[in-house]
Every structure is written in C-alpha cells, then in structure tokens.
C-alpha cells in the first residue's frame, strides 16, 4: 500500500491512553483499515428478522401501517393467524439458510439470537448484485417461504393466511415504495430506493441508532459515526482527489481523537465556555505550527495564516467537537449541540482574521439549518431522530459526529430519545461484538496495518 501523505497521527482512547503511535492517515481510510471494512461490511449486508414482532403482528392481523410510533392504524384481525413462530425459530432459520446461505462460501449467513434471526447475505450474492437490495428482497422472500413451509400455508390450505403473512412482512409494498417503519424485517441502512442522491447509502442511518449501538459512550459515538459518514463521503465522490487528505485528516481528528486533541480541549475547558474552546484550539494550533500570525492591523488585531488548510480544518473540527462536548456535557442535553455547530464558526473566523472556518463554511450553513429546524414549526425533529443524510445535515460531512456526541451526553431531556426510537439497537452490541469499542478497534486495526503502508 502506498503512502501518499506525510501526515501521521497517534490515536488516543477516551481516557487519554495512547493506543497507537504515528500511523499514516491512510490507515484511517475505509480502503485500508480492516476494522472499518468489517463494520461497513456488517452494515451493508445484514438483515434482522424480529420473530416476536412477526408473530404478534400476524396474530393481530396488523400489516401495512404508515406510522412510526403506534403502528396500529391498520388492523385486520379477521385475517390474523396465531402461529408459534418464535418457538420454531431454529426451523425457520434452517430453511432460510437453505435458500440463502447456500450461496455463501462456508460463511454462516443465518444465525438465531433469541427471538431474532440475523441474515448476512453471502458475499457472492452482493458481488453479483448491482445493488444491496438482496438484504431486503432475499431475506423477505426466503422468510415468507420458510414460514409457509413450516406451518403448511398455501392457497389450498389457507388462502388468506398467505396474503396476511405477506402483508406483515412486506407492508404495503409495492403499492408503497418502501416498507412499514419498524417492520419485522429490517437492516442497518435504509432501503436504497429511499436514499436521496447518489452514494449516500451509508449515511442513511439515524443519530439515535448510533448512540444506542455505542451504548451512549461519547467518543465511541464519534468513531462509529465517522466510519459511516466518512464511507458515505467517499462513495458520494466528496473525498476524491483534492479532498482526499482533507477528509482523512478531518475524520482522524474529529472522529478518532488523533493526537488526543479533542480530549485535551475538553479537559482544558471542562468548566469553560464554547469561546474558551475556540481560544484553546488556536493556542494549540499555533504551538503545533499549523497556523501562525502573519501580521497585525492598526488596532493590534492579528491576522493568522496557514500553509495547510486541511490540517487547520481538522483542528477546527476537533475544536467544534470539543465545544459540542463541553456545552452538551454542561447541560447534559442533546439539543445543545446545534447551537455550537451553527455559531462557533464565526468565532474561528473572527479569531484568526478570516481563515476559512470549519469545512470551509459548510459547517456554519448546515449547523444553522440544524439549529433552526430543531427548534421550529417548519419541520425537522429533535436531534436524535435525524438521519445522517437528512437534507438539513448533508451540507457538511463533518456535522454528524458531534451531533451523535451530543445525544450520547443527553441524560434524558429528549422526547425522541435513543430508548424510544432505537431500543433494538442497544441489543446489537451484544449480538455483534464488532460494534463494541469502535474507537479502540479502529486504532488497533491501524496499528496492525501501518507497517504495510510504505512510502511510495
């Protein structure tokens, strides 16, 4: 692997212990870092079958609902079927394995975890497919067939039962273009046909889901969010060519606590204000030679300059993230992240005599939008309910991690809390040890491969 850039960072965990020293920033790219690859692979090709939900919906004749909460406006009890689906989990899984798993190369693609069947669509299938849709299509069809086989449901034995089963699994699809929210079959990411724009697939994930998956540990939230949003930025073309180093540095400092900068800034300002964090960031940047005073104006006002905006940007992002942590930590409320993201940028610009602010100004625009729409009648939602690719957030690829951090710090002020919107995702950590300690694992994986990245 060729090392294109001189930049090297050391990675620290959230207790300021150094986990790996002097890794080339390429080691933090989804194309090199094995842990990142594993996470993305998991997200891309995994489906979940919630058998309890399936059983209760089938019993009550519930299918084709639209509501996110409640999910009870459509009910047809006369078509309901009381079947012991959870009891037959293993049998159902066997049949799905038969239909789907056989394409895998020895990989165990179907596993039963209590009342959930986890289906990992085989790599071969994903490679041949032009999309990642088999996560939904294959899983759902195989599931319906498996249940029909186990319980002997066919047009001869149970005409209405066939279609009630379909209604529970598929909702109103294809009359509706997507499935019911909270349907028995789900994936990590949204179905691709409801993703706006090209390449944004990995960012079709809800803030609260990330918070739940890291069990509200702030810097793990930053890491996992950065892996996903960073991958989306690549896929969208936002990290190609001129932006490659910019993005690598940005996520290294914002998401993976490069050189412990975020944590240093937080600790220095644990009783401080947002503006204090701005000052600390500049002090540190001057010390590290990232920026320096170019000249002074008549009033004594200093004009700063830099030869390395991507690195200064990374410092600004670290400062923004630290300020979000300080402000949300002081208030222990996720709603306090928005104000930092919208308005800290002016602080950086005015303090440096006009150097470009975080993400070149994108953070301010997206941040103000986020502040407005988390406080207004015009739409939006509480911060936890946003998806990374929401139109209001997608103006910047760096705004998502600090929002996750803010929600991790929330002590229960939100109506749309992770406990309400993402209860199933808390359990995923136990199901997938891969999701535990992402910050640590990114560093370990970087350590593992750093020797392979040679100067080209």
């Amino acid at each position: 692997m060729k090392m294109k850039y001189e930049d090297k960072v050391s990675l620290y965990n959230d207790t300021s212990q150094c986990m790996t020293e002097n890794v080339p920033i390429e080691a933090l790219s989804p194309f090199c870092n094995p842990y990142m690859k594993d996470v993305l692979d998991l997200f891309k090709r995994t489906a979940f079958i919630n058998l309890s939900k399936l059983q209760s919906c089938l019993k009550e004749g519930k299918g084709g609902w639209e509501t996110v909460l409640g999910q009870d406006e459509c009910k047809m009890p006369w078509y309901g079927r009381d079947l012991p689906i959870v009891e037959h989990a293993e049998e159902i899984a066997d049949r799905i394995r038969d239909k789907v798993g056989k394409f895998g190369d020895g990989e165990d693609s179907v596993t039963v975890m209590a009342d959930t069947i986890v289906v990992k669509i085989p790599k071969e299938v994903m490679e041949v497919s032009a999309s990642r849709d088999p996560v939904y299509t294959w899983t759902m069809v195989a599931l319906c067939q498996a249940i029909a086989e186990v319980f002997n449901i066919n047009p001869n034995t149970d005409l209405d039962g066939c279609n009630m089963l379909k209604a529970v699994v598929f909702g109103r699809y294809p009359q509706s273009i997507t499935f019911s929210p909270g349907a028995p079959v789900s994936g990590f990411l949204k179905p691709s046909n409801v993703v706006d724009g090209l390449g944004a697939e990995y960012s079709g994930i809800t803030v609260n889901h990330i918070v739940a998956m890291v069990n509200k540990r702030t810097m793990d939230g930053l890491a996992l969010a950065s892996i996903l949003e960073g991958a989306a930025q690549w896929e969208m073309g936002n990290a190609v060519g001129w932006y490659e180093r910019y993005n690598l540095l940005g996520y290294a400092y914002e998401g993976f606590n490069a050189n412990n900068l975020v944590l240093d800034l937080v600790k220095e300002n644990r009783e401080g204000t947002i503006t204090d964090v701005v000052y600390s960031t500049i002090i540190r940047a001057v010390e590290d030679g990232v920026i320096k005073v170019k000249n002074k104006l008549a009033s004594g006002y200093k004009i700063y300059t830099t030869n390395d905006f991507p690195l200064w940007n990374a410092y600004e992002l670290a400062g923004t993230t630290a300020a979000a942590i300080v402000n949300c930590g002081a208030m222990r409320s996720g709603q306090a992240a928005a104000t930092v993201l919208g308005y800290i940028n002016d602080g950086f610009a005015l303090e440096t005599g006009g150097l470009a602010d975080p993400d070149g100004g994108r953070m301010e625009g997206a941040g103000i939008g986020f502040a407005f729409y988390t406080h207004s009648i015009y739409g939006g939602a509480g911060p936890g309910a946003y998806t990374f690719d929401h139109v209001i957030l997608r103006g910047s690829g760096f705004i998502q991690p600090p929002i996750v951090a803010g929600m991790c710090l929330d002590s229960g002020t939100q109506l749309f809390s992770p406990e309400m919107t993402s209860s199933a995702f808390f359990k995923l950590r136990d199901m997938f040890p891969l999701l535990q300690d992402p910050l640590k694992k990114v560093a370990e994986a970087a350590e593992q491969i750093k020797g392979e990245i040679k100067k080209g």
Binding site: G63, G64, E66, T67, V68, L69, G70, E73, C74, K75, M76, W78, Y79, T137, M140, V141, C144, Q145, A148, N154, P155, N156, L159, D160, C162, N163, M164, L165, K166, A167, F170, G171, R172, Y173, P174, Q175, S176, I177, Q335, Y373, T374, H375, S376, I377, Y378, G379, G380, A381, G382, A385, T413, Q414, L415, F416
Partner: protein, 639 residues
C-alpha cells in the same frame, strides 16, 4: 352443331334455371321431418316463455327507460337518423359555448366541424343508480362534474394525526396538563388556524374565511369519557353515524387514543397537490398547539413538528414510484383497503355477515346489500381509478376512461343483475359462508358469470349501453369480485374470482374482453395471488394504483375495491383496513357524501352540487367568458 343463343335468351334461360333450383330447395326445406318441426316448435315455445321472464326483470324496465325502445330487440331502427350531436342537449350547449369562446378569443375552440360527426348512434341518457336522476354522458366527465372533483379533493385534503405523543411531550418536557378545557381551547384555536388564521405572530398574511370555509378539524376517539368532556362540535359522533354494532366495534378498535382528522382547504390542494395537505395540517396544528398551550419557538416545537409530520400521521396515499412520481395524498398512492374504508354506504346496516343477513331479511336484504355495494364501488372506486387517476392524471384529456367509470354509475344495469343473483342466493346459501376454496367458489362464480354474460346477449340494449369491451370487462370483474367477497368474506378469494371472471369466463365465452391491455392484471393476478415475491401477492387491501401491475391497465379499481368492500360485508366487520379512515369519512361536514356518492355525482350532473374551494369571494363579478384584466383599456407602464 351448337345452337347460338342471343344474350337475351342466355339470360332468360339462366333465370329459369335458377327459379327451378330455388323451388326444389324450398320444397326440400318445407319437407322438414316432423322431428325437426317439433324441435322448432319447442324452441319457439321456449323463446316465448323466455321473453316473458325477461320482460319481468328490472333490467328490462331500466333499458326501456333509457332507450325508449324494445330492450330485447337487436335492431335500432333509427340508427344514423338521430340528428347527430343535436340529439344531445349537452352537446348542443357545447357547440354554442364553443362558438362564443372562439368569437371572444379570436381562436377556434370546440367545434363539431372537425373530427367525426358524433351522434350517429343514440347518445343515451344515463340514469344514476336508483336515485331517479338521469344525466347525460358528458355530465359524468370529471371536469364537468363538481361532485367528482370534490370526491378527489375531499380525499386529498384529509390527513389524520395522533395527539397522544404531543400530549406526552407537553406533560414531560413542559409540565403542562391536558384537560377537557385545554382540549376544547386547542380545538377552537385549530378551527381558526386551519383556515390560515394567525395566532402567534403579528402582521401575518391571512386568508379570507370564505375561501377556506371548508377547512376544519375534528377529533376521532373511541373513548366515551373523552367525548363527554369535549364540545360536541369538535368530534365525530361515531354512535350517531354508525349502526350500534359498527360503532361499538370501531370505538373498541380505536380505543382511548386521541386522533384528529384535518381537512385542509380544497383551494390549497388544488393550488399545490396532495403532498401539501400533510404539511399544511402539520403546520397549522403546531400553531394551534403553540397558542393553546402557550409555547414559544423553542426546541420542543421541533418535537411537535416531527410528531405531526412523521411520527404518527396517516396520509391517505403513499408516495409513488419514480416513473409516475407524485407526493402523498394523491389517488395513485391510496391503498385499495383505504378506498373501501372511505366508502360509507354500509354505515346504517347491521354488522352481520352477508349470507346471514340475506337469510334474515330475504329478498329485500339481498337487494339492499347489493345496492350499497354498487353505490360505493361505482360512485367512488370506479371514479377514482378510471375517471380521475388513469383517465386523467396519467393520461390527460381523452374522454374514454371516464365513460368506463360511468358504466359503474348506471345502477340500473349492475344493480339489477346483481340483485337478481343475490336474491337467488337467499334460496340456496342458507346462511352459510362459503369457504375460501376455489373448487366450491367456482360453481357460484361460473353460474353468475354466465348469467351476466347471457343478460348482455339477451339485451342488446345493455350491450349498447356498455358499449365498449372495457365497460363490460370492468363490470364483469366487479360483479365477480363483489359476489365472491360477499359470499366468502375473503378479499383474496374475491380478487381471484374477479380475475377469473375476466380472464377465463368472459374471454372464452365471447372471445373478447376489453381494450387491448385491460386484462393484463387478470392474467398476472392469478400467479400473483398468493405469491411471496416482492412485487406480487399481498392482501387486496394492500393493492392500489401504484402497485406495478395495476398501474397501467384500467377498469380494475372497482374490481379490487369490490373485493375488499364485498369481503367486509361478507364477513360482517366494521372496516376493511383502518377503523380511523372509516370514521374519518363519516364526517357530516364534508361536501361530498361518501355514503351516497352516486347521488352526489348525479346531482352534480344536473348542476345541483355546490363544491368547496370556489374563488367567488376574490373574483370580480363578470361574464363567464371574461378572464385576466377585465378592463380592456391597455394601460401604459408608469415609467
């Protein structure tokens, strides 16, 4: 030596020989065997008897009324001699109007000088249901009919939201209590904000109340306790609007939850689209909340906005696929189960299965159920599917598809036949629902299909009324699906029967179905029926005009909705898919009467239906031909 005959003689000899041959043949004919004679006499006697029976049918009377001629006759003596377009009042009016428009604007307009000379056949009057209203075909064009327009508008402008989450937010985050008093204040405020009245901000643009007199909101709940505390103007009175059995079932299903059904102004959805309805309702609801509960522009507001726009809101229709992209609350996105719930024609009937009902009530009951089925299916689903969606949204100005829907309006034909069949059922079914087994259902469906087919054959006037294969196909499918639904209570069984009736029964009998693509979904419908594949199968309630195979072949909306609605009546339940949608359209304030849709459409046909959303409050009083700046003076720019 051959005799040379003159031309005249050749001709003479030819004629003589032909005469001789004819006499021989005639003699052969008349020398029929006695057996053959008997047979012919039998046929004659049978046909005599058949004529009496047929003359006793309702359909005979209806056809006579429409055509003013012998319904059983296969000949129209006056074909081509009816005066062309002049036989129709409406078309004469159009010609006059077209002339006036052309003169006024200096460009040709509607003109019978171009295209074919219409009216070579009889342009027959159309009786609407059994309402005693007769309209002309043109009166059922959606652009001429204010009731059909209001049908679309009243659905498009409806959104249903749940309040429980918002109330919880108030209690948990703001520490405010929700009481009957606060609810009443909120509801009163909501009536103001739904018409774009301002509550929190100064210097807002507001809307003339006359333009939005059709904007309001009402609570839907199953809780008697909550309803008792509310101002009676502010909720839908389920107990008064539905038969007690139905009311009880609906209230139980809805429970203590508090929902609000919003009616966005007709003018608003006409200016924008159905998607705007959800946004209007969410915004105005949020403002009413803010005002009634004294909130500010603070963070909790975004929770409200999210709750009302996304978290627990029911739109009437989903978004559509890219190829026919439209937002929510448009007809294409309405699931067929919702359409069946939107129909209200069964509200006053007891909630017992069809077969039990006809056993109890006899012939009258049998007629009643069938006429309600036809009222709803013909008046609503046929209009939505054929007239509005496929015939207009998706294709534009051609006036063909809407005639297919109109065939479902003509109660005389469909009701009459189905009623007979239904009455037959009272004698044979003995209160027992049919199981969902094709081998049993096929007997009844075959009987019924052939019965309908024969009726078309016996009544050439009926065949002329439903002049297109498309019309007959649409009716056949509806009748098959409706009957099977009534008999089995299963919408899947009903759809099967509907598909079969068209794809096999009708097709093999006549070697003819509808327009070239009409039967697509009937063929595909069978392998699709119980399939688990993603774009196939599913409960008929979950189908609709965005479901790929239904999206491009017309004349089946009434078939699918007849399957759902018929099954609802068949099993004796109070709704098809959603109890909330069922209650929402019982709202007596709506201009369109969803329990008597054909009556509304008939009234609109005779220009006696006033729609909502009129702009008279802001338009000048002027001639029907005026437009733009009324004064003809060309004004110079000031600078």
């Amino acid at each position: 030596m051959v005799e040379e005959l003159s031309e005249e003689e050749k001709l003479k000899r030819f004629v003589e020989e032909r005469k001789k041959k004819m006499e021989t043949e005639r003699a052969k004919e008349t020398a029929m065997s006695s057996r053959e004679k008997d047979y012919v006499r039998e046929l004659y006697r049978a046909s005599e008897k058949f004529i009496d029976v047929e003359k006793g049918r309702e359909i005979y009377q209806t056809m006579r009324e429409i055509w003013g001629a012998e319904p059983l006759s296969g000949v129209d003596e006056k074909m081509y001699h009816r005066g062309g377009y002049k036989q129709s009042n409406r078309k004469r009016e159009f010609v006059d109007a077209g002339k006036q428009v052309a003169i006024k604007r200096g460009l040709p307009s509607y003109s019978r000088a171009v295209g074919l000379p219409v009216g070579q056949r009889m342009l027959e009057p159309m009786p609407v249901g059994k309402w005693g209203i007769t309209i002309e075909q043109d009166d059922s064009h959606h652009m001429n009919n204010t009731a059909i327009q209001q049908l679309n508008d009243d659905i498009k402008r409806t959104v249903i939201m749940n309040l429980d989450l918002a109330h919880r937010m108030l209690q948990v985050r703001v520490g405010r209590e929700v009481t009957p008093e606060t609810l009443n204040l909120y509801m009163e405020t909501l009536q103001h904000t739904m018409g774009a009245g301002a509550v929190a901000q100064e210097h807002m643009n507001e809307v003339n109340p006359y333009l939005v007199k059709d904007a309001w909101a009402k609570i839907i709940t199953g809780s008697d306790e909550i309803m008792d505390g509310l101002d009676p103007r502010f909720y839908i009175h389920i107990d008064e609007l539905f038969h007690p059995d139905r009311a009880k079932a609906l209230k139980e299903a809805i429970g203590d939850s508090l929902w609000v059904v919003f009616r966005v102004p007709t003018l608003a959805v006409r200016m924008a689209d159905g998607e705007a309805a959800g946004r209007w309702a969410a915004m105005q609801n949020t403002m009413a909340f803010i005002s009634a509960y004294q909130l500010s522009g603070e963070h909790v507001i975004s929770d409200l906005a999210y709750a009302f726009k996304h978290a627990r809101v029911i739109h009437m229709g989903d978004k559509l696929w890219t190829g026919r992209m439209r937002g929510r609350n448009e007809i294409g996105g309405i699931p067929d189960g919702f359409t069946a719930d939107i129909i209200q024609s069964e509200r006053d009937l007891p909630m017992i299965p069809y077969v039990e009902y006809i056993e109890q009530e006899g012939d009258k009951g049998a007629s009643r159920i069938v006429s309600r089925l036809n009222e709803g299916v013909g008046g609503i689903s046929a209009m939505l599917d054929n007239t509005l969606w496929l015939g207009f949204y998706m294709s534009g100005g051609i006036g063909f598809s809407n005639t297919v829907a109109t065939s479902a309006l003509s109660g005389g034909a469909n009701e009459d036949i189905l009623e007979e069949f239904s009455i037959l059922g009272t004698k044979y079914l003995r209160g027992k629902r049919l199981p969902t087994k094709w081998d049993i259902m096929k007997v009844i469906i075959n009987m019924m299909a052939t019965y309908v087919i024969e009726t078309y054959e016996k009544f050439p006037t009926l065949a002329e009324l439903h002049w297109g294969g498309a019309h007959k196909t649409s009716i056949m499918g509806t009748v098959g699906a409706g009957m099977a639904g009534l008999l089995s209570g299963s919408s899947t069984m009903a759809l099967w029967a509907g598909n079969y009736t068209i794809a096999y029964a009708m097709k093999e009998g006549w070697l003819r179905t509808g327009w070239a693509g009409q039967e697509i979904q009937d063929h595909v419908g069978m392998p699709y029926l119980c399939s688990f594949r993603p774009e196939e199968g599913n409960l008929t309630e979950m189908h609709g005009l965005n479901y790929p195979i239904h999206s491009y072949s017309a004349g089946h909306g009434n078939q699918r909705v007849a399957a759902n609605y018929g099954a609802m009546l068949g099993r004796g339940s109070a709704w098809c898919m959603s109890p909330l949608v069922k209650v929402a359209f019982a709202d007596p304030h709506l201009a369109f009467d969803f329990s008597r849709p054909r009556y509304c459409i008939g009234k609109a046909g005779i220009k006696e239906f006033m729609p909502d959303g009129e702009r008279t409050a802001i338009t000048p009083a002027c001639d029907v031909l005026d437009r733009g700046l009324i004064k003809e003076i060309a004004k110079e720019f000031p600078t």
